[in-house]
């Protein structure tokens, strides 16, 4: 059975939300110091965890139908957002390696969709 587009979209939405989760976890890690108790009052981390949980719900809705061999590789598109947010929020430079890597990932995902027939 062909993997439905609706499943692919749900997985992509999940990875998009998850990329914001990573941003908040990183912000949380930067604010992390002191005791373990402080870990539970670190609101950046809390928001990051909630976003991760939310993203995983969308991911699960997506993979409930269709093939994992098609859907799981779609998660790799999340690197596009990760690298974009790293540039915007953490001033991490675009490098040739990042642009090359993303290009390969996008080609790979396109090939997998081509193989979804």
């Amino acid at each position: 059975m062909k993997t439905p587009l609706s499943s692919i979209i749900l997985v992509l939405v999940g990875s998009f939300i998850g990329s914001f989760g990573a941003v908040f976890l990183k912000l949380g890690a930067e604010h992390m110091k002191g005791s373990l108790a402080r870990l539970f009052t670190n609101y950046w981390l809390a928001v990051g965890v909630v976003l991760y949980l939310l993203s995983s719900v969308f991911y699960m809705m997506g993979v409930s139908q269709g093939q994992l061999t098609v859907l799981y590789p779609m998660v790799s598109l999340g690197y596009i957002w990760a690298i974009l947010w790293a540039r915007i929020f953490f001033k991490e430079a675009f490098t040739i390696a990042k642009i090359g890597g993303l290009t390969l990932i996008i080609v790979g995902v396109a090939l997998i969709n081509l193989g979804n027939a």
Binding site: M1, S6, I9, L10, V13, V57, Y59, M60, M61, V63, S64, Q65, Q67, L68, T69, V70, Y72, P73, S76, Y79, I83, T95, I96, A97, K98, G100, G101, L102, T103, L104, I105, I106, V107, G108, V109, A110, L111, I112, L114, G115, N116
Partner: protein
């Protein structure tokens, strides 16, 4: 602040590098197994929901979440995710992430193989195999410093 001697630093770094390598490698295997469990669990739920349906009926989202927290396979899958995250945090603590990207990328290979062997209705074809190779290559070079 005291700095370690060169000798100590070298020995330490090598042993630690090997430890992170092994930890991250184990993470990719656990992560892939978790993916299979999550796929099996969501298939058991049998909910065929689209994004449009969720937007129109938010109740579907809630009932799906209830299904998720009461499914054993999804529970085990999520325990694996949790263990994975902890191991990964240990492996990466204060260490260079960039060199580990090629290992992390292996997850895509494991998930593909495990899917074919353990899940019904999955198959590999030429485009999918080449696509996975491209993705693994792409993720592997993301950490290169230039």
């Amino acid at each position: 602040m005291t700095s370690p001697t060169v000798f100590e630093a070298t020995v330490d770094t090598r042993a630690e590098a090997r430890r992170s390598f092994l930890l991250v490698f184990s993470c990719t295997l656990i992560g892939a197994a978790a993916q299979i469990l999550v796929k099996q669990g969501t298939t058991q739920l049998g909910a065929h929901i689209t994004l449009g349906q969720v937007a129109l009926h938010p109740g579907l989202f809630v009932s799906f979440c209830l299904g998720v927290i009461t499914n054993l396979k999804l529970f085990i899958g999520y325990v694996c995710y949790g263990v994975n995250t902890l191991l990964m945090a240990l492996a990466l603590k204060g260490r260079e992430l960039s060199r580990l990207y090629p290992i992390i990328a292996l997850t895509y290979v494991w998930v593909t193989f495990l899917s074919i062997f353990l899940l019904p209705d999955e198959h590999l074809n030429f485009f999918r195999a080449i696509g996975i190779a491209f993705i693994v290559g792409g993720v592997s070079i993301l950490g290169v410093k230039k």
